[in-house]
Subunit: 378 residues, 2 copies
């Protein structure tokens, strides 16, 4: 708090060109700017070569679903977006531009994001509540030709998948054979289910606060109905506790302290527990281990295996912007997860995921994205 | 051009907090950001104390009226907005955030600016064509509680007024007695006419490309009809050349090479010529002098008396944001012009306006704004 107050916020927009005399002024502003302006007028793509913001990322939020804080609105969400911009610079060298919105209406958010899009190389949607986040992202992906990613969905999904890839190696189980229970059917839960399915996990069951998401339920929104196409194929119904029995993997993106060691004991042998509720997980890592879990991850930095989005989004946007792709595809996300997993040379139960400060991380992820982009162009 | 290409644009968004280890990360991002977020949730105004962008300025443009280039659209306008951001930092220490828009529809621009407003301390509208610029600015001033200023209008008007204040001292004429001819009825011309009127200039005649703006004309838009309330009170009609005869002041915000020395000779004794068409003025300064003008200004940096907006907008926004006013009023603009004029201790024909690199400029202007804000609160 003191640090934030002392610095008066976290960002500074600096000029890369000197402005110390009239000559500098004539280069940085008129008449010098006419040169790059006219070049870009002839070929819009040159904006990537001649401006900074076009190599940068808009971090757009309406403050409706801030991790651990809820619907706090735009002004209060600003410190989080500034933090995100600081991390974009630190981990990917990308310029991040916070944009918080006075509206929570999906159509208006779409209008605004489309209108400001020519400024930026990519759009990171942040902390927008489900189910609005799905429609907003989908529409923007369709209607814009710069990469758009809702990080709460896909950043999380990519890092979870990376952790799962290494965890499965440790317990020697196959993605096609395991049963995965995801608790939480918001942005992160839905995106994780989809990505795991694309990756080849065949048996996924999603739960929300009313239990297993199944065909019989009358209270499902469209997104949850749609996810039934790829989850819960046997149409099991019941509670989270019911479905945990003999499950191989638990992934929690829900609420604090939902489970106990006794619940983990009901899971299959060599179970994997990734409990990411923030700041207090669905089950504390120590307790999950007492329940017999072979591999345990959480969202916390004070335990091993922190599932942290910062492992994914800097590299994903770096790769996407530098290869100037118009979409971040599922293939790219899977490649990013595999690259992230492969940064850990010898995975152990206490190290399924690399350290965010490992310099290899951002390059591995960015290069994975770039490779897909190159392959596609061939 | 080489400088722009080498730097790959002109801006860098830097973190003011270090992010070198897990501890730093926990302060700059979760869980550290929850502190400032919750404080702002309790009191929105604390966003000024705890975030950077709320002390910064959005530089919003649709690229429809870029100086000397015309309607070049958003991508091509980006280098200009980045240059503007560089100057905001250099001259006022303010963070500028370029926002170029894919739309030129006034309603959508208003919607977008209102939506992103909670991010910023102020909005600088830039290079938006007349007459749309008037409606957009007026609506935003009414509907937002942060300062909004279209710099092409008011930045220009303030610096012209500052120059005129000193020029009138030199020729020993009174603002109430002079006849001022303004050629150009776009953003800058209209705003200059309004500000000069507010300052107390009684006799102003505006011309556009069809001659004197007068009641008889059928081709006037609403803005030009409205300006007749404060200009051309005798309802003169005719051409620019007609109205220049015996005029005391010519202010040009129009086109290159419209006038010759012989036209200036028809003006009153000790005439003042401020010819700002860019990059080639309505009349070159040398030629205006040959025509007998006592004081000559232009938009060019290679002649004395450069009328440059950078003398005004950094200090205006600095003053407005630091005193957290919701409006930049006419009173503030006049105070800014007077402060700017007073930076030149002993005005001469070759020095009616200070140098942009004179450190006293931004403080003089900002303090003038702050003083009005304080007086209003009393």
């Amino acid at each position: 708090m003191a640090a934030h107050k002392k610095a008066r916020g976290k960002l500074s927009v600096e000029s890369k060109l000197p402005v110390n005399n009239r000559h500098d002024l004539s280069i940085a502003y008129t008449p010098g700017v006419a040169g790059p302006a006219l070049e870009i007028l002839k070929n819009k793509k040159l904006a990537y070569d001649l401006t900074s913001t076009k190599n940068g990322v808009a971090i757009i939020s309406d403050g409706s679903a801030v991790l651990g804080l809820g619907n706090i609105g735009p002004e209060a969400a600003l410190p989080i977006m500034e933090g995100k911009a600081a991390l974009f610079k630190r981990f990917a060298g990308l310029d991040g531009f916070p944009v918080v919105l006075s509206t929570q209406d999906p159509e208006t958010i779409i209008t605004v994001a489309k209108a400001i899009a020519p400024t930026f190389g990519g759009i990171n949607l942040e902390d927008i509540s489900a189910p609005r986040c799905f429609e907003i992202e989908e529409r923007l992906k369709k209607e814009l030709n710069i990469p758009v990613m809702h990080d709460d969905q896909h950043g999380t999904a990519v890092v979870v998948l990376a952790g799962l890839i290494n965890a499965l190696k440790i317990v020697r189980k196959k993605k096609e054979k395991v049963r995965v229970v995801i608790n939480g059917a918001g942005a992160a839960g839905i995106a994780t289910a989809k990505l795991l399915h694309k990756y080849g996990v065949k048996n996924i069951i999603l739960c929300d606060s009313n239990g297993i998401v199944s065909k019989g339920r009358k209270d499902l929104n469209n997104i949850k109905k749609e996810i039934l196409r790829i989850t819960n194929k046997k149409n099991t119904s019941g509670t989270l506790r019911d479905v945990l029995i003999d499950a191989d993997v638990f992934i929690g993106v829900s609420k604090a302290r939902l489970l106990q060691a006794s619940d983990i004991k009901t899971m299959a042998n060599k179970s994997i527990v990734i409990a990411m509720a923030n700041p207090v997980p669905e089950i504390m890592p120590d307790e999950a281990k007492r329940g017999g879990a072979a591999v345990v991850g959480s969202g916390r930095s004070d335990y091993p295996n922190q599932i942290n989005n910062v492992l994914a989004y800097p590299g994903i946007f770096k790769g996407a912007i530098e290869s100037r792709v118009s979409q971040i595809t599922d293939k790219m996300k899977i490649a990013a997860a595999e690259a992230l997993a492969s940064v850990v040379k010898k995975p152990t139960a206490n190290r399924i995921i690399p350290d965010p400060f490992d310099k290899k991380v951002v390059l591995a992820v960015a290069n994975a994205i770039k490779k897909i982009a190159r392959d596609k162009r061939k």
